[in-house]
C-alpha cells in the first residue's frame, strides 16, 4: 500500500495584472494571469513526481504554492492529510522543516558572502532545533557527507564561488537536507549545469529517495530527464494539467494531442532516429486571456469541432492511474 504524502486539490493562483492609474479609476474588468488554474495531483511517499511543461505553463508556480512561498488564490494542499493552506505562519513553521525546495540556479540561490558552513547551518538556526553549536556542526557535517561533499571540514569554511556548479547545487541540496525533510520541490535543479555533471545531481536525488525516504516534486521542461527520474508525471499546459499518469505510459503512448506534440519535438541523441517532427505551430498563448474551452484548441492538430472551442474538457480517467483532459477521450468514457 503506497502512502500518499502530499495531495493537491484544485489549486489556483491568479496573479492580478497591474493596470494604470486612470484605468483603475474607470474600472472595468480586472485582469488576471491565470498561472495555475485548478490542478490536482498527489505525491506518494518515496516517489519522484514529475511536473513537466513549457515555460509559462505554471509548473514553477505550483512548486512554490505547495510550499506556500506564495499564497494560493484557491484550492487545498494536504500534507499527510493535514490541510496546510489555511495555517498561520506560526502554525506552518514546523511543516517547513518537512518541506524544502531546491532552486533552479545555484549561482543565484547561495549567498556569496556566507561560507558553505553558514549556508547549510542557517535552516537549523532559523528553526532552532539544535541545543548547542556542537550539534549544529555535526548535522552540517552529516548533510555535507550525504551529498558527497567530503571531507566536510574541507568545505565548511569555503565560499560558494570556490566550488563548481555541480558542487553548488549539492550545497543547495545539503541546505534542504539538513532539516531532514520528507518532501522536496526540485525546480529544474540541473538546467544550469553542464551535461557531464548533471548526472551526479540527479543520481543523488535518486539515492536520497532510497536512503532517506524523501519524496520529490521534480519540476522540469526536459522530458528525457523526467523520464529517467520520475515514476509518475503530470504534463501542464497554460496552468492546467492536460495529462497525468505513469511516466512509462505517457512516454510510450501519449494520449493528449499536446503531449504527443511534445514527445515528437524532443530531440533524440541518435542520428539514425527519425528527426523531430513539428506537428503544431505557434507558441503558448498568453495566460491573461487563455483560449476558451480547451486551452490547446488554437494549436491542436486534432481539433474536432465546436466542443473544443466551447467546453472545457475535464480530466477523465482513462486507464490505470491515467487521466487525460481532452474531448477525444471523454467522449468514449
Amino acid at each position: 500500500m503506497t502512502e500518499t504524502l502530499l495531495k493537491v486539490n484544485d489549486l489556483k493562483k491568479w496573479f492580478p495584472v497591474r493596470t494604470g492609474f486612470v484605468k483603475s479609476l474607470v474600472g472595468g474588468e480586472k485582469l488576471f494571469v491565470r498561472a495555475v488554474d485548478g490542478i490536482s495531483f498527489d505525491v506518494n511517499a518515496r516517489e519522484i513526481y514529475g511536473l513537466a511543461g513549457e515555460s509559462g505553463s505554471g509548473k514553477t508556480t505550483t512548486g512554490r504554492l505547495i510550499l506556500r512561498l506564495i499564497e494560493p488564490t484557491a484550492g487545498r494542499v494536504y500534507y499527510k492529510d493535514k490541510d496546510i493552506t489555511k495555517l498561520t505562519p506560526k502554525e506552518f513553521k514546523p511543516y517547513r522543516r518537512k518541506m524544502q525546495i531546491i532552486f533552479q540556479d545555484p549561482y543565484e540561490s547561495l549567498n556569496p558572502r556566507m561560507t558553505i558552513g553558514t549556508i547549510v547551518s542557517e535552516p537549523l538556526h532559523v528553526q532552532k532545533i539544535c541545543k548547542n553549536e556542537r550539534e549544529v556542526e555535526e548535522r552540517v557535517a552529516t548533510a555535507l557527507e550525504e551529498v558527497q561533499l567530503t571531507p566536510p571540514e574541507e568545505f565548511v569554511f569555503r565560499y560558494p564561488h570556490e566550488v563548481s556548479g555541480g558542487q553548488r547545487q549539492r550545497i543547495a541540496i545539503a541546505r534542504a537536507l539538513v532539516l531532514k525533510p520528507d518532501f522536496m520541490v526540485a525546480d529544474e535543479p540541473v538546467s544550469m549545469l553542464d551535461v557531464s555533471i548533471r548526472a551526479e545531481v540527479l543520481n543523488l536525488m535518486v539515492d536520497l529517495v532510497e536512503k532517506h525516504n524523501v519524496s520529490f516534486l521534480y519540476v522540469t521542461h526536459d522530458l528525457a530527464l523526467a523520464r529517467h527520474l520520475c515514476n509518475r508525471i503530470a504534463i501542464m499546459y497554460l496552468g492546467k494539467i492536460v495529462e497525468r499518469g505513469f511516466t512509462e505510459d505517457i512516454i510510450y503512448e501519449p494520449l493528449h494531442p499536446y503531449t504527443r506534440a511534445l514527445m515528437a519535438a524532443v530531440p533524440v541523441p541518435d542520428p539514425e532516429s527519425k528527426r523531430a517532427e513539428v506537428v503544431i505551430k505557434g507558441e503558448i498563448p498568453s495566460p491573461i486571456n487563455p483560449p476558451s474551452g480547451c486551452r490547446f484548441h488554437t494549436r491542436c492538430p486534432q481539433y474536432i469541432g465546436d466542443i473544443c472551442r466551447l467546453t472545457e474538457p475535464k480530466l477523465a480517467h482513462v486507464g490505470k492511474d491515467r487521466y487525460v483532459a481532452c474531448h477525444l477521450y471523454s467522449e468514449k468514457a
Binding site: L223, V268, R275, V278, E283
Partner: protein, 321 residues
C-alpha cells in the same frame, strides 16, 4: 576544397595572470551545404571559435596562430577594412547566443535588419533593403507585417527567427549559430531546428552549430567535433561519433545524456571539473577525469589522428603507432 578550412587555430585571451588558451590548435573543415556541430561544455572554447572566424574577439582576445581559409584567403591575415568588405555577413554570419537579448529593444526590428544590410552593402537603397527584409522574414516563417514591431513584442521563437533572418541578410556562404535553441521551449526548439535544416537545403548554406546539447547536433548536423579544454577531442561523421565514440570524453558525454525513449538506466556522470585553461595540464587535458588514464597521458598531449575514414580522435588509447 571545402568552403571553410580551419587549420591549427590558436586564440588566447590575455588576462592579468597570463594567457587563457581558449582555443589551442583546432582544425576542421566545413563543406558546402553541410552542417558541422561543435559540442562541448561551457568554457571549452566553442564560442571563441565563432568569434575568431569573424574576428570579432573581445579586446583582450587574439589569434596567435593558425589559418582560417575561406574563398582562398586567410581570414587571420586580413585587415579590418577587408574583413568588413568581404567576410563579415557577406561571407560568414553569426547568430548570437541568447536571441532573447541580442536585439536592440528601442529600435524597430525592420530598422535593425536594414542597418545590417546597409552597413555591409552601402550601395543598397533603404527601400530595397526593406524589401529584402520582407523576403527574409517570409523565408524564416515570420509574417512580414511584423517587421515594424519592436523585439519585445516578439515571442522567443520569433526573435530567434528574426535573428536568423538578419544573419542571412547579405547572403552568406556560412552561418554560425551559437546555441540556437537554448532558452527555447521544446516545441519551439524543434521548429527552429527544422528551419535550420530547411535553410541548409534550400540555400545550400553551410552551417556551424554550436551547442552543449548532443541531441540537437544529432538532429541537425552531418559532422560533429567534440571539444574539450580548447582542443578537439574527437571529430568526424555524425554516425561515427554517435555509434562508435572512441574518446573517453565523448563516451562519457553520451552516457550522461538520456534519450527520451532509450532504456531507462542510471545516468553516468564524468567525475571532476573541466581544466583551468590558464594553467592547463601539460599532457592530455582530460587526464584527471579519465578512467583510462595512463602514465603517458600526463606528459604527452595526444595528436588528432585518423582512426578510420573521416573519424579523428585525440587519445593515446587509439594511437597505435
Amino acid at each position: 576544397m571545402p568552403t571553410l578550412r580551419v587549420d591549427d587555430l590558436k586564440t588566447y585571451y590575455k588576462i592579468q595572470r597570463g594567457f587563457v588558451k581558449a582555443v589551442d590548435g583546432v582544425s576542421f573543415d566545413v563543406e558546402k551545404g553541410q552542417a558541422l556541430g561543435l559540442v562541448g561544455e561551457s568554457g571549452c572554447g566553442k564560442t571563441t571559435i565563432a568569434t575568431s572566424l569573424l574576428r570579432v574577439l573581445p579586446s583582450n582576445g587574439m589569434i596567435v596562430g593558425g589559418r582560417i581559409l575561406f574563398r582562398d584567403v586567410d581570414i587571420v591575415r586580413l585587415t579590418e577594412a577587408e574583413l568588413k568588405e568581404d567576410i563579415r555577413w557577406k561571407g560568414i554570419s553569426l547568430v548570437f547566443q541568447g536571441a532573447m537579448n541580442a536585439m536592440n529593444p528601442v529600435i524597430k526590428v525592420s530598422d535593425q535588419i536594414v542597418e545590417a544590410i546597409q552597413i555591409h552593402e552601402p550601395n543598397v537603397e533603404k527601400r530595397e533593403a526593406f524589401e529584402r527584409a520582407e523576403k527574409l522574414f517570409q523565408l524564416v516563417g515570420v509574417d512580414p507585417s511584423r517587421l515594424d514591431h519592436y523585439s519585445h513584442e516578439f515571442s522567443g521563437g520569433m526573435r530567434q527567427r528574426a535573428m536568423i533572418a538578419m544573419a542571412l541578410a547579405c547572403n552568406p556562404d556560412i552561418m554560425i549559430a551559437d546555441e540556437p535553441s537554448t532558452a527555447l521551449d521544446v516545441i519551439v526548439q524543434a521548429q527552429v531546428l527544422q528551419l535550420l535544416r530547411q535553410l541548409k537545403e534550400r540555400l545550400n548554406l553551410s552551417l556551424i552549430i554550436i551547442s552543449h546539447d548532443l541531441s540537437i547536433i544529432a538532429e541537425t548536423c552531418e559532422k560533429a567535433a567534440i571539444m574539450y579544454g580548447g582542443k578537439i577531442a574527437e571529430r568526424g561523421d555524425i554516425f561515427a561519433i554517435f555509434k562508435n565514440p572512441l574518446h573517453p570524453y565523448t563516451q562519457g558525454l553520451l552516457g550522461a545524456f538520456p534519450g527520451v525513449r532509450a532504456a531507462k538506466t542510471r545516468l553516468v556522470s564524468i567525475p571532476g571539473t573541466p581544466p583551468d585553461l590558464l594553467n592547463a595540464p601539460v599532457g592530455c587535458k582530460f587526464t584527471e577525469r579519465c578512467k583510462f588514464a595512463m602514465p603517458i597521458c600526463q606528459n604527452v598531449d595526444p595528436q588528432l589522428i585518423e582512426v578510420e575514414k573521416d573519424h579523428y580522435v585525440a587519445c593515446h588509447l587509439h594511437n597505435k603507432t
